[in-house]
Subunit: 528 residues, 2 copies
């Protein structure tokens, strides 16, 4: 019960960028935009990624249209507009010069440079030594346009942005095993990720329930394992998705989770799974059979094919939630354990140890935290994804063991209670710093992922379920502040009105670009 | 951690009806469907409602197409199909005879008869003494078709259904004041309601934040009060929605909430609202001004226009959440209270007492529970909608005072935690019976409503947010069991596997009809 006037609690900002740039100065002067008198000039290096990005963003900027609102203006509104009208018009925006000072790289990768500098004036300049930085800067440039309050003009304020990400790995996990997600919705998700400067599409492609990955070596996997013949990802689909992502500076990190979460493999190849027993009776199939050679042969052959299709150096091999009860129930495995003097938990470690060398040469792996917890020897470039139990304690343990951490625990988008302001407040480096009292370990936290598990989402609601909630994670990972500020910061992380207001603008911006992000913070509307 | 084979936990039923009919016997024999050899014959009365319903359902049934699944069949599936193949084919469905034994009514209403009888055989018969019963029976008929396991045939089982609703008022509230919902999405919502045999569209059309109702008498209300000139409901839009609903046997119950929740009225007519004070300063506008004549004149004129557009006898006039603090802060009102020896709470009662006689002759009202709580004299045909505090205690109080109850407390769809199984278990008569130990009062609970408040939904997510959660409420209100069973029943209300399985089929059925209902209970897929 508050006694204030009607109107949205958090009126949207105008031309503010999401995620918030690291450094930005904005003047109270602006330029107007006239599509027929504006050009983009590439002054240095170029490549297909740059050319296609300029085409894409030119289209986006040109699609922004001032719209006359036929609604009459109330006295209050008129007063507000008069105030804002004090901003000074400097002229018409003429040109954007794109200065890429080093040659392009072909593929985005964990160590890629995303730093850029953008200065907006009559002749604006976007410069970076990396094509990935140029991509991020073009997104910023596009977001800085806004429609004037009288709906007559498209404007951009004089400003300078110097920007770079806080975390190198800013991911979104999408699970296409529990429900099939169509290729167009995956492409749309990549568009939304690019808008939020996220750079890793973690594709949890198969799971217990279905196997939509269509293999050339093992066509029966999807033939028997997909939900339906129409619900598969062909080689061409995957190539299209990888290329679409590449052009947006997004890595595609495929996950083939082993040895658990693999029941759908068993529709075609039951022999690679473990028969689970109740007494003397087989009651079903469980995780992969860790003591049979055919299991490893299949993994090796399939992974080689997968790694040929996905250019990323990293492969996510899962390793979570293995049903030890099933292994323990199986007489053949029990015998093996006895012969080798192993405990059933050690079998998981043994399985992972057998599996890791099967990957293509030079590949690196990501695993869920269980693999680390079970003492599997891991190389130092392995990424351990933390998702459960004592988050902070787990991160510290992994970091102390010399591995790098991906954080996801606080960012499970399938937990409906977690609206974006809740997701916004968790900063993994800040947690580690708090727990250890210093910055010795924080650099090892290389990023995190918002996780959209697929039990309750399909094509009908996946976009509105992910966005704008993943945007909160995106800003946390891009814009997290420097360590020296951390004490003050933790309090400040809880979103301030400025953040709500930027989020309002950002949701409407996503809607305008065809992404059905849901309302962010309460009553309101977007003009699309 | 369960050791069972893959596959959906709740495989969808085939040709089972949602909401579950009161009496149904189904044989293990079936007829196949061939659109070119099937006709619908009307044997008795007819009217525009009946003709258009037959056209609609003929299209729906004819759109169901057997679809070959190119996926090979695993051994387990083959075994299951062989078992099901034991159902006996009796021939081809030839005809549906529609026997409406009494003349049609024009408009759906609270006391309408929705009972019907459907017998399915080569010549099937649907009979009812009411066109509303025929509508419900046609929906049942359409839902009984299913595609055979080998995907080759469209089938319907021999069966007899005798069906009627448990509760007369089975509603869905949609709030178009916090976010504008487009007309096409409202029509789609009506389609979905008809599929779920819901019969009241409670249209919470305006609220504090916006006034999308376009009035002829007061065009400034939406001109200044709508979010945007494109976000209004014109007279024609309303006529279309009312007619679309009427043809589906759905009442449209408009709500114009007074005296609170009216700030958007004040954009054009600030004088009907109360200036709220902090000290001697006006800090904004609050609820309607209850001591000014212009307030009541405007309500009377607007309500007469509204009631001419909405044929339903009932008008919902709100009465919830009035900001007494604002009234109390206003010097003019404080003086009035002193002069008349009133407390500020009594002003609410006074306001409602002044307002109710302003309605068109013969109209009846629905109010939120606060109006009853504040001792406003209400006629016995007034419906009191219970939504907060001690649900059961409140219902009992309202019933003991001789009023009828609409229950909504457990069915707020904006509460995200409430997945459909949670919504499914609340039966308002059962609660009253439990509290009072007998059935004296239960008849006064005439129904309930699922409430989709609009703070966090707009066109992008409203359909998937409402469905299938409102379907749970729909079945509770249609299929609630007889009182004698209630003790046994309360335990049984928690959805059993059969309910989950029917829900799975129902969600896919909604998807096939273009309603983007979200997944119901976990991993799976729908063929659309």
């Amino acid at each position: 019960m508050s006694i204030v006037n009607p109107g949205p609690k958090y009126p949207p900002t105008k031309g503010e960028v999401w995620p918030k740039p690291q450094h930005e100065t904005t003047e109270l002067t602006y330029y107007t935009f006239d599509p027929s008198n504006f050009k983009v000039k590439v002054t240095n290096n170029t490549c297909d990624i740059l050319t296609s990005a300029i085409e894409r963003y030119s289209y986006i900027v040109r699609s922004l249209k001032p719209q006359r609102d036929q609604r009459p203006v109330s006295r209050t509104e008129r007063r507000q507009r008069a105030l804002q009208a004090q901003t000074l018009k400097l002229g018409v925006l003429q040109e954007l010069q794109v200065q890429l000072t080093e040659p392009c790289e072909d593929y985005p990768h964990l160590e890629m440079d995303e730093k850029y500098r953008l200065s907006v004036s009559a002749v604006s300049i976007l410069s970076s030594s990396s094509v990935w930085g140029i991509l991020r800067g073009l997104e910023t440039f596009a977001q800085k346009f806004y429609i004037s309050d009288d709906m007559n003009e498209l404007r951009i304020n004089t400003s300078v942005v110097e920007d770079f990400p806080e975390y190198a790995h800013r991911g979104l996990l999408l699970d296409t095993g529990r429900h099939y997600i169509s290729v167009p919705n995956i492409l749309l998700t990549l568009d939304a990720m690019a808008m939020n400067k996220m750079n890793v599409f973690h594709w949890h492609i198969v799971d217990d329930q279905s196997f939509p990955y269509q293999s050339e070596k093992f066509p029966d996997l999807s033939l028997y394992g997909a939900y339906h013949s129409s619900m598969v990802y062909t080689k061409d689909n995957i190539a299209q998705i990888v290329e679409y992502a590449r052009l947006r500076g997004i890595r595609v990190l495929p996950e083939f989770d082993v040895p658990g979460h693999t029941r759908s493999w068993g529709n075609a190849y039951p022999n690679i799974l473990t028969p689970c027993y109740r007494g003397n009776e087989v009651v079903g199939l469980g995780p992969m059979n860790p003591i049979r050679n055919i299991t490893y042969k299949m993994i090796r052959d399939l992974f080689h094919e997968v790694q040929a299709r996905f250019p990323d150096k990293y492969l996510h091999i899962g390793g979570d939630e293995v049903e030890m009860l099933c292994w323990r129930s199986n007489p053949e495995i029990r015998e093996y354990l006895q012969e080798n003097g192993l405990k059933v938990e050690e079998l998981h470690a043994l399985f992972m140890q057998n599996t890791i060398p099967l990957l293509a040469d030079g590949s690196k792996i990501v695993v869920w935290q269980e693999v680390f917890d079970e003492d599997v020897p891991l190389t130092s470039d392995t990424l351990v994804q933390v998702w459960k139990n004592d988050w902070v304690g787990e991160m510290v343990k992994v970091l102390e063991a010399g591995h790098r951490v991906l954080f996801s625990s606080a960012w499970y988008l399938d937990h409906l209670g977690a609206e974006w302001p809740t997701l916004y407040v968790s900063d993994p480096r800040d947690m580690v710093r708090d727990a250890t009292g210093n910055d010795t370990l924080t650099a090892g936290v290389i990023g995190g992922e918002a996780c959209m598990w697929g039990e309750m989402v399909d094509d009908r609601n996946v976009i509105s379920r992910v966005w704008p909630r993943a945007s909160a994670v995106a800003e946390r990972l891009w814009s997290a502040p420097k360590s020296s500020q951390h004490r003050r910061y933790y309090f400040e992380m809880s979103p301030q009105p400025e953040v709500y207001r930027r989020m309002e603008e950002h949701v409407c911006r996503m809607n305008r670009r065809g992404i059905a992000a849901q309302p962010a913070s309460g009553p309101g509307f977007c003009l699309v």
